[in-house]
Symmetry: C2
Subunit: 329 residues, 2 copies
C-alpha cells in the first residue's frame, strides 16, 4: 500500500532552457527517480512540445502516471493560463505551452518562470526547508528572485512579484537592458560585469593590456567568470570592477532584507557559484548596511539543489498549483 | 440582541504621538464613536500610561468594555511582547507599554508602530478595502510602509518588514540618518527636502537670496512644506530640489512595485498631502520606470482615513492580533 501511495505522488519536472531540456520524474520527497536530458529543438515551440512529449511517454511506466507536469523556463509566463508570453532565449511569443503539452500527455501541465521554479525547489526540498519568510535570489546572467512571505510563495497581483533585477540602486547609474539606469542587474549581473570590464580596459589601455595578458585572451573572451578569476589573481582592473559589484550586491540585498525581513536569503546563480567568497562579502556588508532588526538574525546561505533545482522545483510548483486549484474549488 | 453584539465588538485605538495622544472608541465597521485628545506627558512612559488609563476609564460606559486596546506609535516596537524598544520622539527605551497599560485597564493591549497601524486602517476601512496585494507608503518626515501580501499584513521573520525608508536608491548619494548613503529617506523625505534646499541656497547665494525673499523667511524657516509651496510659485531653487525628489520617488516606488507586484499603492504622508500633484508625477513615472507587467494594472491612490487612520488602524490591528492569537491557540 505504501508503495502504491508513493507512486501516486510522482510528478514530472522540466527545466526548459535555451540549449537543453532537463526532464525528471520526481517523487513527493523531492528525489529524482528518472531523468532525461535532450537538446532544445530550435524549430519553434511546436517541435519542442512534440519532443518533450515523446521523451515523457518513453519514461513513464504504465502504472506510474504522474499527477502533473511542471515546467520552468526563462521568460515572461502567464502562469494561470500556462502561456509563454515572451521567451527571449528561444524567441517564443505568446505560445500556449501548458495546453499544447497537456493535449499530448493528457495530464495537467503547469508553467512558471525558471527563477520561481528554482525557488520552489529550494524552499520545499533544499536550503529553505521549513522557512516561512525566505528570499531565493539568483545572481547570474540576469538577476531574479522567488520570495516566500508568511509561508506562501509571493505571486503579487499579476504573478510578477520578485522582479528585483530592475530595482534602481543608482539613480544615474549605467544603462540597463530594460531602458532604465542603475538597475541591480546593470550593476551586479554577469552581463554587467563583462560589460563594465570591457569599458574599463578601454579607458585604461595600459592596465587593459595587462588584464588581457593575464586572462590570455581578447576583449571577446571577457565574461563574468573570467573577471572573477582575474580578481582572485589580484588584477587591478578586476578589483576595480568587482569592488563596485560588491557594493551593489550589498545594497541590493540590504534593500530586500529591509523590505521583506526574511529569516533566510538563499543566494545562488552563476556569479555566486563561480565566486563563493561573495557570500561572506554580502554577510559582512548586510550586517553594516541593513537595519539591525532585519540583519541581526538573517541567515545568508548557498542553494543546496544546484543543478537539480530546476527539475525538482518545477515538479514542486506543479504539485502546489494542483493543491491551490483544489483549495479554490 | 444586535445592539449587544455590536457593543461586544468595540475596540480602543490609540495614536500615541510625540506631542498629542489621540484615543478613540472604534466599532467593528471602523467608525469612531467617541474620541479624546490629550497632550503627550513628557515625564516618561509611566506618566503617559497613567494618563491614558485615566482618560480611557472615563470614556467607557460600564456595559461597553472594549475587546482590546491597540496602540500605534513611532519607533521600534516588539509587537509580540508589546515592548517599545526605542521611541526617538519621546526618548523611551525598552518600555513594556503593552503589559503596563494592560495592568491598569485589565483588557488586552497590543502595540505596533504608527505606519503599520495606519496601513491596517487603510486596508480594512480606507482606500485599500478588499485588496489582498497592497502597499501603504507614507512619505512624511520619514518614509515607511505597511505591506499586504496574499491577503495578509507582511510582518517578516522579526516583525520588521516594510522598512523601505532605508532602501538604497543612489549608492553614493547624500548621507542618511541611518549612517548609509542615498537611502529613499535621504532623497525624498521631509527632512531631506529641507536639508537639500538649505545646501542649494548656500552654494548659489544669488538664487538663495531670491528663494528666502520668496518664502519671506530665513534658513531656519525652510521646511518641506515651504519648499513645495515655493515650487508651485516656480522658484528655481525649489524646482531644482523637487525635480530630484520626483526622480527618487518614482525610482523608490517602482522598486516596490517590481518586488511586490501590488494591485494598489496607497501613497500618503505629509509630503504627499502638501503636494498632491506628486501623485500624478508618480503615476506617470511608474508607467515608464516599472516593468510593464507590474505597472500596467497598478493603481496609485491617496489614503482615505486622513487624520483618523492612526486611531482606526490601531484598533483594527488590535482586533486582528486577538484573532491571530486565537487561531494559533
Amino acid at each position: 500500500m505504501k508503495m502504491n501511495n508513493e507512486k501516486n505522488n510522482l510528478t514530472l519536472g522540466i527545466d526548459l532552457g535555451g540549449t537543453k531540456i532537463d526532464i525528471g520524474l520526481v517523487d513527493s520527497s523531492g528525489i529524482i527517480l528518472r531523468r532525461e536530458l535532450i537538446k532544445t529543438n530550435k524549430n519553434g515551440p511546436e517541435a519542442v512540445v512534440s519532443e518533450i512529449s515523446n521523451v515523457v511517454k518513453k519514461m513513464q511506466l504504465p502504472n506510474e502516471t504522474p499527477l502533473a507536469v511542471g515546467i520552468g523556463m526563462a521568460g515572461q509566463i502567464q502562469a494561470e493560463a500556462g502561456v509563454v508570453h515572451f521567451a527571449p532565449n528561444l524567441g517564443w511569443v505568446d505560445f500556449p505551452l501548458g495546453s499544447e503539452l497537456q493535449k499530448q500527455l493528457n495530464i495537467p501541465v503547469k508553467v512558471t518562470n525558471d527563477v520561481r521554479a528554482a525557488a520552489w525547489g529550494e524552499w520545499l526540498f533544499g536550503a529553505g526547508i521549513g522557512c516561512s519568510d525566505l528570499i531565493c535570489l539568483f545572481i547570474g546572467t540576469g538577476i531574479g528572485a522567488g520570495i516566500v512571505c508568511n509561508g506562501e510563495m509571493l505571486l503579487g497581483s499579476h504573478n510578477a512579484a520578485g522582479e528585483v533585477g530592475h530595482m534602481t540602486l543608482e539613480l544615474n547609474g549605467p544603462p540597463c537592458s530594460c531602458g532604465n539606469h542603475g538597475c541591480f542587474e546593470a550593476l551586479a549581473s554577469g552581463w554587467a560585469i563583462a560589460k563594465r570590464t570591457k569599458e574599463v580596459i578601454t579607458y585604461d589601455s595600459y592596465e587593459g593590456k595587462r588584464f588581457l595578458d593575464l586572462i590570455g585572451g581578447t576583449q571577446d573572451d571577457i565574461t563574468a567568470r573570467v573577471v572573477l578569476e582575474a580578481y582572485r589573481k589580484n588584477s587591478g582592473i578586476a578589483i576595480r570592477v568587482i569592488d563596485e559589484v560588491k557594493a551593489a550586491l550589498v545594497a541590493g540585498i540590504a534593500n530586500l532584507a529591509n523590505a521583506f525581513n526574511p529569516a533566510k536569503i538563499i543566494l545562488g546563480g552563476g556569479v555566486i557559484t563561480s565566486a563563493p567568497f561573495l557570500l561572506d562579502v554580502v554577510r559582512e556588508g548586510i550586517a553594516k548596511r541593513a537595519l539591525k532588526t532585519t540583519s541581526e538574525s538573517l541567515e545568508i546561505v548557498q542553494p543546496q539543489l544546484k543543478g537539480d533545482a530546476g527539475v525538482i522545483g518545477a515538479a514542486a510548483f506543479a504539485v502546489n498549483e494542483l493543491k491551490r486549484q483544489q483549495k479554490n474549488g
